[in-house]
């Protein structure tokens, strides 16, 4: 399920205002702090959360519970298919469709096929990796509720954010906020869905 889908749970929360609440977000100044905070949140049982950082922070995605390896798998499969495809193209064209007997040499002169086969492997793996990464990340997505959080422009320059989303089973407007205030953040705020 894409983490970008937001449910307007009519009647799921206790107060009418929860329909418009996306989550609670905490702002940190240092990369280390956000990793510790993510870890503690995971320990506390929260699962539907995400962090927003201006650079990739080691250990953060694991602390948040993300462990997928879709991208390498896709690229491997695509690379293999590209290899078979490239070699297959040449095998078909030169071996089956229009074979030429040149001085009694091998019809399927496979050493000559290797450069093109290699290039097709790399091309297939690269294209799949890039477009696959963009697709599974759900990009292009010009708007996301978290963009409306205060100071969020700093997520792309110098601040680190952790957001616990309202779809989490343990989410409670008051309790979660109290919990997040113990994480050592510079600021804790609510993220609201734009109407």
């Amino acid at each position: 399920m894409s983490e970008t889908l937001v449910h307007r749970e009519a009647g799921a929360g206790t107060a009418p205002e929860e329909r418009f609440l996306y989550g609670i977000i905490a702002e940190f100044e240092h990369a280390h702090d956000v990793v510790v905070a993510a870890d503690r949140s995971y320990q506390a049982g929260y699962r539907k959360m995400d962090a927003y950082t201006p650079l990739p922070v080691e250990g953060l995605s694991e602390a948040l519970g993300f462990r997928d390896v879709y991208v390498p798998t896709m690229m491997l499969v695509a690379g293999i298919l590209g290899c078979i495809g490239g070699f297959g193209l040449l095998y078909y064209c030169l071996g089956i469709s229009y074979p030429l007997n040149i001085g009694g040499r091998e019809i399927v002169s496979w050493p000559y096929y290797l450069p093109i086969t290699f290039e097709c492997t790399v091309l297939a793996a690269a294209l799949t990796g890039v477009f696959g990464m963009i697709a599974i990340n759900g990009l292009s997505q010009p708007y996301h509720p978290v963009f409306d959080a205060p100071d969020f422009e700093l997520a792309s320059s110098s601040r680190f954010f952790l957001c616990i989303e309202h779809t989490d089973p343990h989410f409670d407007r008051v309790e979660t906020r109290r919990f997040m205030e113990t994480l050592g953040a510079a600021k804790v705020s609510e993220v609201e869905l734009r109407k």
């Binding site: 690269a126 996301h144 792309s156 110098s158």
Partner: protein
């Protein structure tokens, strides 16, 4: 906050240069605003405009010459029988070679954990794209009947024919297309987080929307970063053998043929080393004015320039070894034609001036870089880079023209003289290349902002110190 212990004067005036990878004292915010400020400022520098006008002017002369070629045919060039390949292939190989340094810096140095690649990889990768764009024009232009360029593509057709897949020229078609595509994708993927930074810092609405669209709504989500970094590493891993294979395939254009002076197994490694050599020369030619005019000396430091000089020296030595080996083969092979080609023709024949200029430019000039004093002298580095660029062009000239003009049988011998269209197209591509680069520097971040932040995070230097002076976290 500048650490005075790192201050070391260089040979160029009292310019304050550092030998660190990044000048200490930088924070995430300072690095971001410095680099983003190059793009997001409202002033259009007059010097920049003048430079664009100059190079675009030169480029348009080239475009005009290309148009003439398309209209009147390849007869406008100096190519003849037996010298069927001349400036076209020289320029093609020269540009592709230049492009390889960008991929080496982006991909290979990343895999080797060389942190000094960080501030130079973005503009070097852009250099690759623009160089490959120039190179790609030549295979298309040098075919006699331009309207049949699509015959290179293996599509079923009414003549029931396929392209000659056993030819290095077809391998080139696949290799260069793949190289251009993968480099473009690698460069764009690297740009996505920086485009998001520009989107968030832009003041003007249209600028915000422009970068917003290009950044695909990137918000720095940890889940996205996870997949992003996996992809980035894998693309680097793919690009590394790609660089090696592409220029090897380009060298096969020569070595697979039986022309004396061409048919040699040393060509693939010698060409790849030569490509990196020429590419780093061009990277230096771009770095030196870039850091001066855009005030990036804190980020592209003397360390980077010195390291680039070292790589140039190393690859220059490999290339020089290649030249020595060619002379050895000429003698050791006991093949009359190879012997003739090496000694009587290249060294003493009508094009001997180019051979000896080549030895001077590529063999002797880079030896200056053994001394640290010259490696850290910006003027010396710039001049040596220019000489090396010329030398690498001459190398392809020597390989192609001397071998083709005087090969096996005297009845096939003839001189080659370039014509004005040849020069016009060549200098035109140089103009176009610099025009594209100037536009890039103005429109996109010339240094990878996200990666510079990583450098600050992992290597101290005031790591993560906020503007409010909070203490750095332990790592």
């Amino acid at each position: 906050m500048i650490d005075s212990r790192n201050r070391r004067g260089t040979a160029v005036g009292e310019r304050d240069e550092t030998f660190e990878i990044i000048r200490p004292g930088h924070t995430y915010e300072s690095v971001t605003s410095k680099i983003a400020g190059l793009v997001l400022n409202n002033n259009i520098s007059l010097k920049w405009l003048a430079a664009v006008a100059l190079f675009a002017g030169i480029g348009s002369v080239g475009i005009f010459a290309i148009l003439l070629t398309l209209l009147f045919g390849v007869g406008l060039w100096g190519n003849n029988q037996p010298v069927g390949w001349a400036f076209d292939i020289i320029n093609f190989v020269w540009w592709i070679g230049i492009g390889h340094a960008g991929t080496l810096i982006s991909a290979i140095l990343l895999l080797l954990h060389q942190n000094w690649r960080t501030s130079i990889n973005r503009y070097a990768e852009a250099m690759t794209l623009f160089a490959v764009a120039q190179a790609g024009m030549f295979p298309l232009l040098h075919i006699g009947r331009h309207q049949y360029f699509y015959w290179l593509i293996p599509l079923p057709n009414s003549m029931a024919l396929w392209p000659q897949f056993r030819s290095p020229l077809m391998w080139d078609f696949f290799a260069i297309s793949t190289y251009l595509t993968v480099s473009l994708l690698f460069w764009y993927v690297g740009l996505i987080p920086d485009l998001a930074t520009l989107r968030d810092r832009a003041q003007h609405r249209f600028v915000k929307i422009f970068y917003g669209m290009l950044s695909l709504g990137w918000r720095g989500s940890a889940l996205h970063w996870r997949r992003y970094t996996m992809l980035y590493l894998l693309l680097a891993g793919l690009s590394t053998p790609l660089v090696l294979s592409v220029h090897s395939i380009v060298s096969f254009d020569f070595s697979v043929g039986i022309v004396p002076g061409w048919h040699s197994t040393i060509f693939p490694p010698y060409f790849v080393a030569g490509a990196i050599f020429a590419g780093f020369a061009m990277t230096l030619i771009l770095a030196i004015p870039l850091r001066a005019t855009c005030n990036l000396r804190d980020l592209i430091t003397m360390k980077h320039l010195e390291n680039m000089g070292k790589v140039m020296l190393a690859t220059g030595l490999i290339v020089f070894y290649g030249y020595i080996m060619e002379v050895f083969f000429g003698w050791y092979s006991a093949n009359t034609y190879e012997n003739y080609m090496t000694f009587a023709n290249r060294m003493l024949g009508p094009y001997a001036w180019s051979y000896w200029a080549l030895i001077l430019c590529n063999g002797l000039a880079p030896q200056v870089l053994w001394w640290k004093k010259s490696r850290t002298n910006i003027v010396v580095l710039f001049i040596v880079s220019l000489i090396v660029s010329v030398g690498m062009w001459l190398e392809r000239f020597v390989i192609i023209v001397t071998s083709l003009s005087f090969d096996y049988v005297p009845s096939a011998w003839a001189m080659y003289y370039p014509k004005p269209t040849d020069y016009a197209i060549y200098f035109g591509t140089i103009g176009l290349f610099f025009t594209l680069f100037l536009l890039f520097v103005r429109a996109l971040p010339a240094i990878s902002i996200a990666e510079m932040r990583e450098l600050i995070l992992h290597h101290g230097h005031g790591a993560g110190v906020s503007e409010h002076g909070a203490a750095p976290a332990r790592h």
